[in-house]
Symmetry: C2
Subunit: 80 residues, 2 copies
């Protein structure tokens, strides 16, 4: 199964990469950008064939490695 | 409007961050990970209210700043 994981900074956590994107887009002439936030997108190819088990496994991976749950949120999408 | 941009490395391009995730997950005891790839996820908040114009604008942003189209693919989702 394939798992897609989005890791994003929690609201209120300073996002220097997002700020850099905002400023650079502004200086390139894109004036209508109110906010930019940058997160991570991780695609995993899993041997597990059961969707529920795969989700539980990926949830563990997020907690142990992929996300810093103090400052980051994560979402998991499992695909067949 | 909100735009969600995924920037991923093209197939065949070496992904050191993905390899690091693979190896670290393996050493943490997650044995069923066949492949991991890491990309970027960028959320933009745009003043533009027309979905087609917003998409065209974000496409330009990707080409000029957000993605390196030599080695990266990008996808754009526009939300109301």
């Amino acid at each position: 199964m394939k798992a897609k994981v989005h890791v994003t900074l929690k609201n209120g956590v300073l996002d220097p990469q997002g700020k850099a994107i905002e400023h650079t887009l502004g200086s390139l002439g894109f004036k209508g950008v109110k906010q930019a936030r940058q997160g991570k997108f991780i695609e995993l190819d899993l041997a597990e064939t059961d969707a529920d088990k795969a989700r539980a496994q990926v949830d563990e991976m997020c907690k142990k490695l992929l996300a810093n749950t103090v400052i980051e949120n994560y979402t998991i999408d499992i695909e067949g």
